[in-house]
C-alpha cells in the first residue's frame, strides 16, 4: 500500500534519514521503532510532503508518487506527536473544524462525527474544551478527527506518549478494529512493549534501518540465546564479572533486578556466576531492539 525506498534527508551535517526503506501493508500495523531523535517523525513528514527529501521515493500501491504528495495526503490521516488539536475549541468544535477543512459532506458530517466520538468513547465529553482533556482523551479526539476523512492509511507519530495505561489499552483495541477494516497503519513508538502489538517492525537508529521484518519472524529467527540472571550479590559487581569474560562474545545489560545476557554458543561461562537464578527465556522485542540498537550486530 505505502512504501518508501532509500529516503535520505540531511539537516546541515546531520543525516536525519539515511537510506530508509520499508513498506506498509493494508490491514497491518507497521511499527517504526527507535529512540528519540532517531528520525521517525522526519520520515513521516517526508512521506506527507511536509519536509523536502534529499533523495528517495515514496510509493502508493507500488507506483511512485513523483512529488505529487496529494496522492499520499488524499488517502492519509496523520496524527502528529502532540495530537494537533485546538485547545481552546471544544471536542465538537475541533471535530467540526477538521470535518469542514477536509470537505466532509455537510449531510454526513453530524452522523460521522457522532459515530467516531462514540467509537472512541468521547461523545459524553463533546462540550469539553480540548485543552481540558487528559492525555488519553486528547489522543482519542485526535484519532477521531483524522478518521473523519475515512483515510486508507493512518500515520501515527508516537500516539501513546503521555497517555495513561488504560487509554493505551483502549487505543490498541481501536487500532485492532481499524486493522480489521483494512486500514494501513504506520505507527512510530519508542515503547517496545507496545510494538509487540504490530505486525511489522522497522528499527531505526540515527536515521538508518538497522533491522526490519515481521515481528514474529524477527523474534523466531533471533540468532542469540537469552538468559536472565538474578545476581546473588551486588548487581554491578556481577555485571563487571560477566563483562570481564573476554573469551565470551555476549551482550549484557541490566533490566530491573536482573542482568540480561544475549549470546550465541555455549552457556558454560555462566556456571561460575554467583546468582540466585539463571533462566533462559525468549527475548522480547525490547531485548532484540536493544541488541541491534547497541550495534552488537547490524543487518
Amino acid at each position: 500500500m505505502l512504501a518508501v525506498k532509500n529516503l535520505f534527508k540531511a539537516f546541515d551535517s546531520i543525516r536525519a534519514v539515511d537510506g530508509v526503506s520499508f513498506s506498509a501493508q493494508r490491514g497491518k500495523i507497521t511499527i517504526i521503532a527507535g529512540a528519540d531523535g532517531a528520525g521517525k517523525s522526519t520520515i513521516f513528514k517526508i512521506i506527507l510532503g511536509l519536509i523536502k527529501k534529499d533523495r528517495g521515493e515514496i510509493f502508493i500501491d507500488d507506483s511512485p508518487i513523483n512529488g505529487n504528495f496529494s496522492r499520499v495526503t488524499d488517502i492519509t490521516g496523520y496524527m502528529p506527536e502532540r495530537f494537533s488539536l485546538y485547545t481552546d475549541l471544544t471536542v465538537e468544535e475541533n471535530m467540526d473544524f477538521f470535518a469542514d477543512i477536509q470537505r466532509v459532506e455537510t449531510g454526513r458530517k453530524k452522523e460521522l462525527k457522532n459515530r467516531l466520538l462514540e467509537r472512541t468513547g468521547m461523545l459524553p465529553f463533546r462540550k469539553r474544551r480540548a485543552g481540558a482533556l487528559s492525555g488519553g482523551m486528547k489522543q482519542k479526539l485526535a484519532l477521531s478527527a483524522i478518521l473523519l476523512s475515512s483515510p486508507e492509511v493512518l500515520i501515527l507519530d508516537e500516539p501513546t506518549t503521555g497517555v495513561d495505561p488504560l487509554s493505551r489499552i483502549e487505543f490498541f483495541k481501536i487500532m485492532d478494529d481499524l486493522k480489521k477494516e483494512g486500514k494501513t497503519i504506520v505507527m512510530a513508538t519508542p515503547y517496545l512493549d507496545e510494538a509487540e502489538k504490530g505486525d511489522f517492525i522497522v528499527f531505526i537508529r540515527k536515521g538508518k534501518n538497522i533491522k526490519q521484518g515481521g515481528i514474529r519472524e524477527i523474534k523466531d529467527n533471533f540468532p542469540e540465546k537469552m538468559f536472565r540472571i538474578l545476581p546473588a550479590g551486588n548487581i554491578f559487581e556481577t555485571l563487571k564479572e560477566l563483562n570481564s569474560k573476554k573469551e565470551v562474545r555476549a551482550h549484557f545489560y541490566i533490566r530491573g533486578r536482573y542482568i540480561k545476557c544475549l549470546f550465541s554458543g555455549d552457556s558454560g561461562f555462566l556456571a561460575g556466576i554467583k546468582a540466585k537464578e539463571i533462566r533462559e527465556e525468549k527475548p522480547s522485542l525490547e531485548d532484540i531492539y536493544l541488541y541491534y540498537e547497541r550495534g552488537v550486530r547490524d543487518d
Binding site: K45, G49, T73, P80, R82, S84, T87, E93, F97
Partner: protein
Amino acid sequence: MRIFYLFKKELIEILRQREMLVLIFIAPILQTIVLGYVVTTDVKNIPVQVVNLSESRAAFRIVNRINHSSLFDVKKVSHSPEDAVSIFKKGTAKAIIVLRDSFEAGNKNIRYPEVQILMDGIDANTAGIAAGYFNGIVRYYIMTDIKQKGFELPLESQTVIRFNPDLESINYMGPGIVALLLTMISMFLTSIGIVREKEQQTMDTLLISRLTPIEIFTGKALPMALLGLIEMGIGIAVVILVFNIQIRGSLLYLFITAVIFLFAILSYALLISTLCNSQQQALFFSWFSMVTFLLLSGLFTPIENIPRAFRWLADINPLRYLIRIIRELFLKGNDITYFTKDLLIMTGIMVVLLSLSIVNFKRMVSR
C-alpha cells in the same frame, strides 16, 4: 469557503479566552481614556520659585502675572538670593525666576527690571516650553506697558492657530491613540497566529488538509482585521464621547485608510510569525517593532525632528501615514485629495509587506 472555517475557528479561539476579551474590548476603552488624559504635551503647573530682588512696580507686576498663570505653580517668592543648584537638586522647583533692578538701562523713561530664568534641564522638552512661556509673559508685559505709555510699536505680530486653536494636545493625541490601538492589538494577536499553529503542530494538519498557503494566510489575517476595525471603532467612540473631539472628515476615508493600514501591519505581523519559532520570540519581536514604529510615527515628536540619515525609517513606517491621515481627518476634515500621496505610499508598503510575508510563508510550508 474553507477560509470561512479558518476565520470562524480563529475568532472562536480568541473570543473563548476571557482574558483576551478583556484585552480586546475593555483595555482599549481604558487605554484611550488614560492615554488621552495622561499623554499630553501641554505644559501646565510647572513648579517655580521667584526670587524678586527688585523693588520696581514692573517686577511686582510680572511676579503677579506669573502667580496668576495656570501654567506655573509658584512654590515660593523670596526677596533674597537663593542657591539655584540646591533647589534643582532637591527638585522643589523646575524653574527659578530672578528679577533685579537694572542699572544699565539706557532709556531712562522706560525702565524694566532684569529678568533671569534658570531652568532645570533634566526634562529638556518641558524646560524649553516653560522658557518660552516665561519669555512670552515678559514680552507681553513690555508690549502692553510700552503701548500704555503712548509709544508706537514698529512691528506687531499676531498668531492665528487653526484647527486646534487652544493647542489642546488631546485634540491631536486622541486620534493618534486610536491609531496606536489599531496597531497594538492587530500586531500582537497576529504575530502569534502562525507560530502557535507551528507550536501545537496543527500547521501540519492544516497543510495536509490541502489548505493552500494563501487560504491559511487569509484565514489568519481576516479575523484580526475585523478585530482591529472593532478596536478602532471603540477608540473613535471614546475619543468622540469622552474627549468631545468631533471627526470633521469622512468616516469612509477613515475606514479605507484603516483597512490599508491593517493589511500592511497584519502582513508584517504574519511575517514575524513565519520567521519565529515560538510565541515568546514572536511577542518580543512584535514589541520591539511596535516601539520602533511608535517612536518613528510622529505621534509624540514631529517627524521633522528625526535626523535626515534616519528619516527613511519613518518613511517606510506605515503607522506614520495612518497617524497623519487620522489627524487630518479628525482635525482638518480633509478630503481624500489631501492625503492621496500618503495613502498611496501606505498601499505600496502594504503590497511589499504582504508579498514578503506570503513568499516567506510559502517558503516555510513548501514541499
